[in-house]
């Protein structure tokens, strides 16, 4: 079974209800409601946010062009572009469209179109499934025409009915396609007329489900943020009710805050009003000295800003919203069958009560992590000095398999580097296939109707051979498994300030930053021999004065006795 869990979409609800919860007859519901039925998480109980009042100067429901009828999404897009005649050109430059990012600083060509990851491993060659999260239509294979503006999907980001959904662009194997059948047809005019600025639910459609399911990838982005309580996220809860775009500002459809090129230490701060549209840093709103300057502790904390990312203290743990994240994935376990058919197991019950896959024949075995105090679970971030620059082990990069885990992405940073700060990460560990002869990663052919697709035949050899060949990559013909790490900078799920990390969480001998080397940290670090010498000096002084006092006492007694004589 393939499932991209669609957090707020009927397809998600139906698939979840029909395939995982084994309930029957469940109609289309929103993700929040589904969680409410299944679990007890706070996030699920919170009332849904009131629809944001529109400040738009146009009521899209009154536009002639949006009356329809529309046969498909492309026709809606054409209608949008009759007025928004620059939007297409703008969007064609966006990574949401190109799935490609050229990093000028490292010279690396990144993006989903190219990269290997340590979840489902590669979107390339599996567009029939993966392009369900492409903001476009009809990307079925490597031959997608990026110049055709009618292929842009405007509504996935802008529609506000919550009834819109996307399905895989190709059919896939029968076992997979079944869950996308029988869906209620999309009411295109209604969807088109509802458009507005993107809400959390729009972005969350894909970004909450990265890695193949709710919360799988990030550990700080999952469906609990659709409608979070203040405890989970101070900015997105109903009090402030930030849309993602409040921080991820856009300019001509280019959205700030890509993890491909981060600013780990923003020294500019708020900038002049309205000027900064290229950053999504905390500092761009809170400034570079956000704690009370007239208090001792506030002053000290403002000093920390130079070396410690805001996220390090203000996001005290990962996956706090009742939705777990996958921390370990073992592809070696994939391909087991029962009576000749693939199967899955759901032995993990996450914070909100939902059952999660711990095994799937098509993907392997999963280990989850989350912070759910009532279940005694805690998932702490991995902390490291980070200069904002990710370097990727791409499909072209040969690595040394004797040095495992191989980093999918790596970064540098140090105490000395002014661009670096201590950041929290979700660190993902995976055992995944690689080309044993060339020591590179591989593109696997996972999705397809053909006999070579792994999600159907469970044969790594054929899936890799075809995946490499179709994408013109050299393949030695021998595959093995390699351990990998990927690092996901943590930046969402900002806790209320009273829940921020206490000083002693780090300023302690075995605190959270125990592993970070190269600098002296009070409370954590010691000069061992100096401590020994110091305590010894104090002890010796004590012994010295006690001995002296005893001698004085003895001498006095001696004199008294003499006097008596």
């Amino acid at each position: 079974m393939i499932l991209h869990a669609w957090a707020r979409r009927p397809v998600f609800a139906i698939a979840m209800a029909g395939l995982f919860l084994c309930a029957s007859g469940t109609g289309p519901v929103r993700a929040g409601e589904l969680q409410g039925e299944a679990g007890t998480a706070e996030a699920a109980k919170a009332p849904p946010p009131a629809p944001r009042p529109s400040n738009s100067t146009a009521d899209h429901s009154k536009f002639e062009a949006l009356r329809g009828p529309f046969a498909n999404g492309s026709e809606v897009t054409k209608a949008c572009l009759t007025c928004h005649n620059e939007a297409g050109h703008q969007f064609q430059k966006s990574v949401h469209w190109t799935w490609e990012y050229k990093n000028e600083k490292t010279g690396q060509t990144l993006g989903k179109r190219n990269l290997v990851n340590n979840f489902c491993t590669n979107a390339r060659g599996n567009e029939g499934m993966c392009a369900m999260c492409h903001a476009g239509y009809n990307w079925t294979s490597a031959n997608f025409d990026f110049s055709k503006q009618e292929n842009i999907d405007c509504v996935v980001c802008h529609e506000q009915t919550g009834t819109y959904y996307k399905t895989p662009t190709t059919k896939g194997n029968a076992a997979c396609s079944i869950m996308f059948e029988g869906l209620k047809p999309i009411d295109w005019p209604k969807v088109a007329q509802s458009v507005g600025r993107p809400e959390r639910a729009n972005c969350g459609t894909c970004h909450f489900n990265g890695g193949g399911g709710d919360g799988v990838k990030h550990g700080d982005l999952d469906s609990s943020l659709t409608n979070p309580p203040r405890e989970l996220d101070v900015h997105m809860s109903k009090e402030l009710n930030f849309a993602c775009t409040k921080c991820h500002l856009s300019k001509k459809h280019i959205i700030a805050g890509s993890r491909y090129d981060m600013n780990a230490h923003d020294t500019e701060g708020t900038g002049k009003p309205g000027l900064r549209r290229d950053v999504a840093t905390c500092e761009s709103c809170h400034g570079t000295a956000p704690h009370p300057k007239n208090q001792l502790v506030g002053f000290k904390l403002n000093g920390h800003v130079a070396k410690v990312a805001c996220q390090t203290c203000h996001i005290p743990a990962l996956a706090r919203g009742g939705v777990a994240t996958i921390v370990d994935w073992d592809w070696r376990e994939a391909g087991k069958t029962k009576d000749g058919a693939g199967f899955s197991e759901e032995t993990y019950v996450q914070g909100n009560g939902e059952h999660r896959h711990t095994y799937r024949s098509i993907k392997g075995a999963f280990t989850y992590g989350e912070t759910a105090p009532e279940k005694g679970r805690e998932l702490l971030p991995y902390y490291a000095w980070f200069d904002g620059q990710m370097r990727y082990t791409t499909i072209d990069t040969a690595f040394d398999p004797s040095k495992q885990p191989v980093p999918i992405n790596s970064f540098q940073g140090s105490y000395e580097d002014p661009k670096s700060r201590i950041w929290p990460f979700k660190r993902m560990h995976t055992v995944q296939p690689y080309d044993k002869g060339n020591n590179t990663f591989v593109y696997m052919h996972l999705w397809g109707e053909d006999k070579d697709a792994y999600w159907g035949n469970y044969d790594f050899g054929r899936a890799i051979e075809v995946g490499m060949k179709e994408n013109s990559r050299p393949y030695s013909g021998q595959y093995g498994f390699v351990e990998t790490y990927s690092y996901w900078p943590t930046t969402h799920m900002v806790a209320p300030k009273e829940k921020a990390l206490a000083c002693h969480e780090c300023h302690a001998k075995n605190g959270r930053l125990a592993a970070l080397a190269g600098f002296y940290m009070p409370g954590r670090d010691h000069f061992e021999w100096l401590d020994w010498a110091g305590y010894l000096l104090i002890a010796a002084t004590f012994v010295g004065v006690i001995l002296h006092a005893m001698l004085r006492g003895l001498a006095l007694c001696y004199r008294k006795e003499q006097k008596h004589d």
Binding site: L530, G534, V545
Partner: protein, 238 residues
């Protein structure tokens, strides 16, 4: 002269010495001593907490306490330095001759009930060993502590320099080392207070300010007349 009985008795050629209870430690001096003592204890205790020696204070509390106490102590020292120079009391800390007899006394003589080789007077409150100890406290251990402490406190103003990591390490090292030496000093200092006529004699002196000092008649008359220093009424029966 209002009291001619004194004036008439003084014979400069044959000076007589009288024991009188004189306030040898002024109000300010005692305030300085005890507030410094309290601050140093506070600093040592909270410092050990920051260092991780004990876990009796939450790190945040320890930082607050340590910083406030440190700033208070620096202010106290600045003020006291001013006081020491304006009153001329700084001379008390100058090196004096006769340190060996004092060392010998504490090592040996004290055990044999020998008299202290040093005579306290108004102008010479401290013996040679005390002067040396306090002087080294004030010019070596003290400055090592407060200078590194101030540098430590202002870390946030220089943390952006590339050498900051190394500098912080050295600063912490010197600060910690000086704190240990200070601790040893304080232990000995407290022990030494028990070596007076009685175990609490010196402590009482430091609290009340009064000690029995041998005064020449001229000094006695001068103090009585000018009241430069408080002096208790004479116990001697006329």
């Amino acid at each position: 002269m209002t009291d001619d009985s004194i004036g008439g008795l003084i014979d400069p050629k044959h000076p007589r010495f009288l024991k009188r209870d004189v306030m040898i430690y002024s109000y300010y001096e005692r305030f300085w001593h005890w507030s410094q003592a309290a601050l140093i204890f506070t600093l040592f205790f909270s410092g050990l907490g920051l260092h991780g020696t004990h876990g009796l204070l939450d790190f945040r509390t320890a930082v607050k306490v340590h910083t406030v106490a440190a700033i208070a102590l620096v202010v106290l020292w600045i003020f006291t330095t001013f006081w020491n120079f304006t009153t001329g009391q700084w001379k008390q800390y100058l090196f004096k001759k006769g340190i060996w007899p004092v060392i010998r006394f504490y090592a040996w003589g004290i055990l044999c009930s020998e008299p202290h080789p040093y005579k306290k007077s108004l102008q010479r409150k401290q013996n040679a060993l005390q002067s040396l100890a306090y002087m080294s406290f004030m010019v070596l251990v003290g400055p090592a502590l407060w200078s590194t402490g101030v540098v430590y406190l202002l870390y946030d103003f220089w943390s952006h320099y590339p050498w900051a990591g190394e500098a912080l390490t050295y600063t912490a090292f010197v600060h910690t080392a000086a704190a240990f030496i200070m601790a040893a000093f304080v232990i000995i200092h407290i022990y030494m207070t028990t070596t007076g006529k009685t175990a609490f004699h010196y402590v009482r002196t430091m609290i009340t300010g009064y000690d029995s000092i041998e005064l020449s008649e001229v000094e006695e008359a001068y103090i009585q007349e000018t009241k430069t220093v408080p002096m208790k009424p004479s116990q001697v029966i006329k």
